[in-house]
């Protein structure tokens, strides 16, 4: 019996853009402005989303926030159990993290392990005033006590499904899909 992967569209290009805009508004509203704020995206797609959020906030508040890109490979908790090392990309955080309101951005929140690694990595740069977590998709199935402050879309999933986020800069097209394996 053959297996086939089918993609179901959850968000299209326009919805992704609207969602990012809404999240930008929520971030500004919750913090009553953007004072001492900085945005850090988790590579690869979280970094692209972070860039978009910075742009959306700039459009609303006319302030360009510092943007950092974080590679969490060196902080992963599964480095010993992998056969080959994943390639590490550069972390670029050129501003002082200390006393900033850091908005951490990722594409999908799943087990929470990536977020855990990212928190450790950011705190190694200094002591932020607080860290708030923004994700485009929350698909559930947490393995750690972690939650997001801003969620683009909640998607209930089963463990054998996969959430695929495509971003123009990285994938050439844009959208959020749910991938299911079905037997033919």
């Amino acid at each position: 019996m053959a297996e086939k992967k089918v993609l179901k569209e959850i968000l299209d290009t326009e919805s992704v853009a609207r969602t990012i805009k809404r999240m930008a508004h929520e971030i500004i509203e919750r913090n009553r402005g953007v004072e001492d704020m900085a945005v850090i995206g988790i590579r690869t797609r979280g970094a692209i989303l972070a860039e978009r959020i910075v742009a959306a906030i700039e459009e609303i508040e006319k302030i360009s926030l510092p943007l950092g890109l974080l590679d969490i490979t060196l902080y992963r908790d599964d480095v010993h159990s992998r056969l080959e090392q994943p390639l590490v990309q550069k972390t670029e955080i050129i501003f002082r993290v200390a006393n900033k309101v850091v908005i951490l951005v990722d594409d999908v929140l799943f087990t929470g392990r990536t977020a855990r690694s990212a928190l450790d990595a950011i705190i190694d740069f200094g002591r932020p005033k607080c860290i708030q977590f923004a994700v485009l998709v929350d698909r559930g199935h947490r393995e750690l006590p972690i939650r997001a402050d801003y969620v683009g879309k909640n998607i209930p999933t089963s463990l054998d499904e996969r959430v695929v986020v495509k971003m123009q800069e990285e994938d050439g097209s844009e959208g959020v899909y749910l991938e299911k394996t079905v037997e033919e």
Partner: protein, 316 residues
């Protein structure tokens, strides 16, 4: 990506892609060592043994810092204070250390092939930190990384290595690495200090330094290894300085935008003049800084945890 089948013994056995992976990864770690908190938790729980059978300042400290900045536990071994003095062999030494559940080994030894031999008698990932006149891969990698950061490429750059090529593992590893990445490599030294049939490595060979320096981008000046000169390879140090020492006058022959490298330790006034050592285009200390990042990169890519087999499991 797996590098060199789990060990780093020389650059000869690595592909251009593998070398490029190490260099790209090094940029990440260069960023880490410039942070306020120069430490990442990546090698937590891994124990690295530094087996140094030969004296070393830079390489030993560099490896130790690289290990510590990756949060590994480190054990330092030096020949003078060990049971090697009582006649224990290299094989027994490593097997006894490994029995204490260590995971990776960094070895510096005076015999060529010592690192390779080690891979056959232990289960750890082995990193060669210099074996006799054979190879010193991490030194060459840090030299190449330093050049690549400045020129943004290696291909078609003209690199001249000057000095005692015969005894130099640094020269051999540099030649392999640079050639694989497409540089044009030349060597220069007294004919007594050039290895037999060295031109088969694909390098241009000179014995006249003024001729060799013409049109070169990068000069890598090797140390005259005073401890290996008993056989009388050249008459006097003064004559060597006269004929091969790099001074301000000789720099004029180089291409504009040139770079001076020296793997250290320097014999100032012998192979390199004081002014050249302090020149703004000498990147000698930059090489040392990059050395830690290169070694972090190699340790990360080779990270290997010794599995505890069931038969050896702890009995309760």
């Amino acid at each position: 990506m797996a590098i060199g089948r789990g060990h780093l013994l020389d650059l000869e056995s690595l592909s251009a892609e593998e070398i490029t992976t190490i260099l790209d990864t090094t940029r990440t770690f260069r960023e880490v060592i410039d942070r306020d908190i120069k430490k990442v938790p990546t090698l937590r729980g891994i124990t690295v043994v530094n087996l140094f059978f030969e004296p070393s300042t830079r390489t030993r400290i560099s490896f130790e810092l690289a290990e510590k900045r990756l949060s590994a536990d480190t054990v330092n071994f030096s020949k003078a204070t060990s049971s090697v003095q009582k006649g224990e062999s290299l094989k027994d030494t490593i097997q006894n250390i490994e029995a204490m559940r260590t995971d990776m080994v960094v070895i510096r030894h005076s015999s060529p092939g010592a690192a390779h031999y080690l891979t056959q008698c232990c289960n750890s990932a082995v990193i060669n930190a210099g074996d006799g006149s054979h190879a010193h891969p991490t030194q060459a990698l840090l030299d190449i990384f330093t050049i690549r950061e400045k020129y943004k490429r290696i291909k078609d750059l003209r690199v001249l290595i000057v000095g005692d090529i015969k005894h130099s593992r640094v020269a051999r590893s540099n030649i392999w690495g640079l050639k694989k990445l497409g540089a044009q490599v030349a060597i220069c030294g007294p004919s007594t200090l050039l290895p037999y049939e060295v031109e088969k490595m694909g390098v241009e060979v000179f014995t006249d330094i003024d001729e060799a320096l013409e049109g070169v981008d990068i000069v890598n000046i090797l140390r005259i290894q005073l401890e290996r000169q008993d056989a009388g390879f050249f008459p006097t140090l003064r004559e060597y300085t006269e004929l091969y020492g790099i001074n301000m006058e000789r720099l004029k022959k180089l291409n504009a935008g040139f770079t001076i490298l020296h793997p250290g330790p320097m014999n100032r006034g012998v192979e390199i003049s004081d002014e050249v050592a302090e020149h703004s285009d000498a990147v000698i200390l930059e090489q040392v800084t990059n050395g830690v990042a290169v070694r972090m990169s190699v340790l990360y890519l080779l990270m290997h945890k010794e599995p505890v087999s069931v038969s050896e499991g702890v009995e309760v």
